[in-house]
């Protein structure tokens, strides 16, 4: 660790991992409810479990992004963090706000939560991924502003690199597009139209800048390849991301009451969206092959390359699978969507956060890399989680194809619930793979507890 203020990242990483475990637990609960419909009902209705699952995901990824920024911005800027105190304060504000929100979801009916948090003053609740009470949303904005100020000041004072610039643009975009969550018109079509300005412009826009910047940082560190080369790649990749991904939002405007020319625009632009993910993969392999040094933290390289590959599969391949409007007509809102959502979120954003944690956490704990036993266990966690997620994706894809076939094609379509009965095999497979994922997560956690000789040499 070059700058002492980088150590605030440790808090953020630990919180991220704790919430990650909670997210998976609620995933397993829902997976069970898919099979045994009244499992935990009415204690934890499906919608409650789903809110906890998806909101924890988003919150822990945000913790991960912030931790990554607090770690890498001082090092890139060659500068202590502007205010480590503010970083710690905002950490606790965010953690308490997040915890209270989840407790609210679990302890009172959602309608009660809406009432006691004053949703009618500024109604923003009850939309997918944006279920948080308006108060929580305001808290998120405050935390984001303080965070951006802290990071921004640090960047301004020090050396400006492509990585910090791209990271900052990404984080700024994240905060700005979140503001659309406060726009909730009575007109359902308008509501849906701008809802995607948060969700799509996040994951297929500004978050990809954050992804690219973090990955570029890790690759510079573990491969020792020239910064010049890496920066060129980074800019090109994210340029293509924005060129295809912004207008690519159109792939959500096929069937929600928006004009039909979006079927063309959305298909063409989003059809090109896999390109930047492909470039990211070529980039990662290239840099690792050209590496100038053998960094002792080998498992961090595995995470970095793994991120690029799994992001390409989840976003690029599984995204393309259902993005053309004639295909999407049949797959829209089926288990195919869930298959893609899982692999894309896992491959791109979960894995990049785990990659930076893998690289930075040993250093934050006073060593260049963990010893061979800890790295070995982490490696096993990596593979178990990766394989489990691929099996989950394949199971849901199978379920989705069957669902489309039975419910949406042919002369005598089955009803929704009848169709679901036919998909049980796939849902069992998903639940089994989910358990494997959880075991992989435990192995990964275990790697933090292994006591063996740290590798100090660089």
């Amino acid at each position: 660790m070059t700058y002492t203020s980088q150590s605030v990242a440790r808090l953020y990483f630990i919180a991220a991992l704790g919430l990650f475990a909670g997210q998976i637990l609620f995933g397993l609960i829902m997976g069970m409810q898919y099979l045994v419909g009244d499992f935990l009902f009415p204690l934890v209705p499906f919608n409650v479990a789903r809110m906890v699952h998806t909101n924890l995901l988003i919150v822990w990824l945000l913790f991960g992004f912030m931790g990554a920024a607090y770690y890498l911005v001082p090092e890139e800027s060659e500068q202590e963090l502007h205010s480590p105190f503010l970083a710690k304060l905002l950490f606790w504000v965010f953690l308490v706000a997040g915890a209270l929100t989840v407790v609210g979801y679990l302890s009172v009916p959602y309608a009660t939560l809406a009432k006691i948090t004053g949703n009618s003053l500024l109604p923003t609740m009850g939309r997918e991924f944006l279920e948080q009470p308006t108060l929580t949303k305001l808290g998120i904005v405050v935390v984001a502003l303080g965070f951006l100020y802290n990071i921004g000041m640090t960047i301004l004072k020090g050396r400006k690199t492509a990585i910090t610039l791209v990271l900052f643009v990404g984080l700024l975009g994240l905060a700005l597009f979140f503001l659309f969550s406060f726009y909730n018109p009575d007109n359902l079509v308008k509501d849906k139209f701008f809802w995607w300005w948060v969700v799509h412009l996040w994951v297929e826009g500004v978050w990809e800048l954050i992804l690219g910047a973090i990955l570029a940082f890790i690759l510079i560190k573990v491969t020792g390849v020239d910064r010049e080369v890496i920066e060129k790649w980074l800019y090109l990749i994210i340029a293509v991301t924005l060129i295809t991904g912004i207008v690519g939002t159109g792939h959500h405007y096929y069937w929600i009451g928006t004009p039909e020319h979006w079927q063309w625009i959305g298909s063409i632009f989003s059809g090109l969206e896999p390109i930047p993910f492909f470039m990211l993969m070529v980039f990662a392999f290239n840099m690792v092959n050209k590496r100038r040094r053998q960094h002792p933290n080998e498992v961090a390289s595995l995470w970095a390359v793994g991120t690029a590959v799994m992001a390409f599969l989840g976003a690029g391949v599984w995204g393309f699978l259902h993005t053309l409007s004639p295909v999407n007509f049949y797959t829209h809102g089926t288990q195919i969507t869930a298959a893609h959502g899982h692999l894309a979120f896992y491959g791109a954003y979960v894995m990049v956060v785990l990659a930076i944690i893998s690289y930075a956490m040993p250093i934050l704990r006073g060593r260049t890399a963990n010893g061979p036993r800890a790295q070995g266990l982490e490696r096993r966690g990596f593979w178990m989680m990766a394989i489990a997620m691929i099996v989950i994706t394949l199971a849901l894809t199978g379920a989705g194809v069957m669902q489309v076939w039975l419910q949406r094609m042919g002369a005598t379509p089955l009803g929704f619930m009848q169709t679901q009965d036919e998909l049980r095999v796939f849902y069992w497979l998903r639940e089994g793979a989910g358990l494997l994922f959880f075991v992989g997560l435990l192995a990964y956690f275990g790697s933090f507890l292994v006591k063996d000789e740290a590798r100090v040499a660089v």
Binding site: G37, F46, N47, L188, G257, Q407, M417
Partner: protein
């Protein structure tokens, strides 16, 4: 080639391309918002429908159901449920939950008032009148 293509040029493609396509997208969005009234059934957007949307949101129906294909995939699509089942069925369905059939997926009892029930039904009627380019493929959603 590597030498002639500098970091500065890559950066300019990023900023230029990003800003240009964002503006294109904003332009397209303006056009869409202007043309929406042709398809969005807003002529039937009464205060009761607005209230129904609020009931829909404050009970998190989207946490189990999809609406025009967006949301959760645990329970039936409701964008066209008004056409599939009709107003009376919807109302009595919501009132009679949960089914408590062992092992079957459950929908909670929301204890909605008569006015709230009518509002949700009005909201689902309005939704079923949105021109979705013939989606879903059939009445089952």
């Amino acid at each position: 080639m590597k030498e002639r293509f500098t970091v500065g040029m890559a950066r300019n493609i990023f900023y230029g391309g990003g800003v240009f396509f964002f503006l294109v997208f904003v332009g397209l969005s303006f056009g869409t918002v202007r043309d929406l009234p042709k398809r969005d059934n807003s002529q039937n957007l009464t205060p009761q429908v607005a209230m129904g949307k609020k009931v829909w949101e404050e009970n998190n129906c989207i946490g189990c159901h999809s609406l025009l294909g967006e949301g959760a995939y645990f329970a039936p699509e409701l964008g066209n449920v008004y056409l599939r089942r009709g107003p009376d069925f919807i109302k009595s369905w919501i009132q009679s939950q949960p089914t408590e059939v062992a092992g079957r997926r459950q929908m909670p009892q929301f204890n909605l008032s008569e006015a709230e029930l009518d509002a949700v039904v009005a909201f689902l009627k309005y939704t079923s009148g949105i021109d979705t380019a013939n989606w879903p493929p059939n009445i089952e959603g």
